[in-house]
């Protein structure tokens, strides 16, 4: 497995610490993930796949909204698939993703689907994702009724290939927390 560090591409802040709940921007209503419950600066296993969460500073971006970025992958590791840790603002969201080798050849060209970010309390995801214990509101309070969740999405290809670049399409309602390349083993 190759865990991609998304730090260079962070462009959205969808998690807030308790001291900064009014600055949430997960949706038009200013909700946000509780930052204390996301493992920023460490590894998180989701359905058997490890993801790396970049370090989070209060008020600073913590995730990636796909806006046409091209992610250069150091060392072009060999992989047979890709896993995204993601969620959809306002319900299910989709974004085109293309994995390319060092010669610019396309390895995989697919549409990633992120389930909606909110799950009702009591209906937590199985190993397809995980939910936080509460949702932050901009009125400087939190509730445990609708819970913010992130989900694992995977795409596989047939032959092992060296992934040198990942291109993201455009959908600002798609939130990306981590990318892991899946090796042949």
């Amino acid at each position: 497995m190759t865990l991609i560090d998304l730090t260079p591409w962070l462009n959205a802040a969808v998690a807030t610490y308790d001291s900064e709940r009014p600055h949430g921007a997960l949706n038009a209503w200013g909700n946000s993930f509780p930052a204390e419950e996301l493992p920023f600066g460490s590894l998180k296993m989701v359905g058997g796949v490890p993801f790396w969460f970049p370090t989070k500073e209060p008020g600073r971006p913590d995730s990636v909204e796909p806006l046409g970025q091209s992610l250069r992958i150091p060392g072009a590791p060999t992989a047979v698939g890709i896993a995204l840790l993601c969620c959809g603002e306002m319900g299910e969201q989709r974004v085109p993703v293309r994995a390319m080798d060092g010669e610019g050849r396309t390895i995989a060209d697919f549409v990633a689907v992120a389930p909606g970010v909110m799950v009702p309390a009591g209906r937590l995801p199985d190993d397809a994702g995980f939910a936080c214990s509460h949702l932050h509101y901009p009125g400087d309070y939190d509730l445990a009724l609708a819970l913010p969740a992130v989900w694992r999405a995977e795409h596989w290809w047939e032959e092992p290939a060296d992934v040198a670049r990942i291109e993201l399409g455009v959908n600002p309602l798609f939130h990306l927390f981590g990318i892991t390349l899946l090796d042949p083993s």
Binding site: A28, G91, A121, P172
Partner: protein, 338 residues
């Protein structure tokens, strides 16, 4: 890179959602079809920000009148209790759709936290004078309130709160409420029934109309398109930009909702006629309503957070949504009435 296929259009206003629930009790399996017997686009001449979460698409022939004529679905709107008393209606065993400010609804998360207006279903509870309220918003919840609590919720001014409720605050509830009645769905000649309605739909798309309240038809949609694109090409920030984004969101939301139900009717119509060509066009129309949904969701996002890339996405999704409407116009032209 593969192009972005739309996520399904899925969100309905609480008024449509409540109306479907009541209608489904009286006309099982036909409620969504009966709510979709209308194509409409109304561009109000009044400020778009005066629209509410539960506004219906504007039309010189009000949507309830059209639905009553075409499918005998009867939606009545009341302001206050002068004509008919809400509490008398509930006491007689009726289920009403009531506009409320959820700030005053004790069992909801917004209680005494957020002024936000929408509609809920209300019926009499068993005997003790309390009222059973079903709120379809988000994760639906049901509980009871006292008549006094409901009155406070019905009478709220819903003060504007840009921070906590940038969309559905700022307009008083005005004690608005609705009733819905339907009969079990039954027609003698289904094909004739469907063809007549497809013809009416084409007519209201193609015919440009205007009055003191606004302008209507696909030409009004084209006008709105030019207006919105000009606003999105202008400065990102500032009062005018924010007002345009908020107002356009409030306009596009009920219009999308009406189209989601229209899609249900069209699908049934195509199958009833056995028209494979129409079936294909209708499925494409329903799928591409997702572009309208994506544009709306991103537009709503920009009420709080704005960046140029968002507006590029919104313009692209709107262009696809407008093309979808133009394509439907061409499809329905085959059913134009003489």
């Amino acid at each position: 890179m593969v192009s972005l296929p739309p996520s399904p259009a899925r969100r309905t206003t609480t008024l449509y959602s409540c109306a479907e629930r009541i209608a489904a009790e009286q006309a099982p399996r036909a409620a969504a079809v009966l709510l979709g017997l209308r194509w409409s686009f109304g561009l109000p001449s009044s400020p778009l920000e005066e629209m509410t979460e539960y506004s219906l698409p504007l039309n010189p022939t009000p949507l309830p009148a059209a639905l009553a004529q075409r499918g005998d679905l009867r939606i009545a709107r009341y302001e206050g209790d002068d004509e008919v008393s809400l509490h008398d209606y509930l006491a007689a065993g009726g289920t009403a759709i009531v506009a409320v400010d959820v700030w005053h609804v004790p069992f909801r998360p917004a209680y005494r936290r957020v002024h936000t207006s929408r509609t809920v279903l209300v019926r009499r509870d068993r005997g003790d004078g309390r009222l059973l309220v079903l709120d379809p918003w988000g994760a639906p919840a049901e509980s009871t309130v006292s008549p006094e609590e409901l009155e406070r919720a019905r009478s709220s001014a819903v003060p504007f709160d840009a921070e906590r409720e940038p969309l559905f605050s700022g307009n008083p509830v005005g004690r608005v409420w609705f009733t819905v009645e339907a009969d079990p769905f039954c027609v003698d000649d289904a094909e004739d029934w469907v063809r007549a309605r497809l013809g009416w739909l084409y007519g209201e798309m193609a015919l440009f109309r205007s009055d003191e309240k606004g302008q209507y038809g696909i030409e009004a949609l084209r006008t709105f398109r030019r207006w919105l694109e000009a606003r999105l090409a202008g400065p990102l920030d500032g009062e005018e930009s924010l007002a345009a984004r908020r107002g356009a969101s409030l306009l596009l939301r009920p219009e999308l909702t009406s189209r989601i139900y229209l899609g249900v009717f069209l699908r049934n119509a195509a199958h009833l006629l056995g028209d494979a060509g129409l079936c294909g066009e209708v499925e494409r129309y329903r799928l591409d309503l997702g572009h309208w949904q994506s544009a709306l969701d991103a537009l709503m996002k920009t009420v709080r957070t704005r960046r140029p890339e968002y507006d590029v996405f919104i313009r692209d999704q709107l262009a696809r949504a407008w093309d979808n409407e133009e394509r439907l116009l061409r499809t329905l032209s085959l059913y134009a009435l003489d």
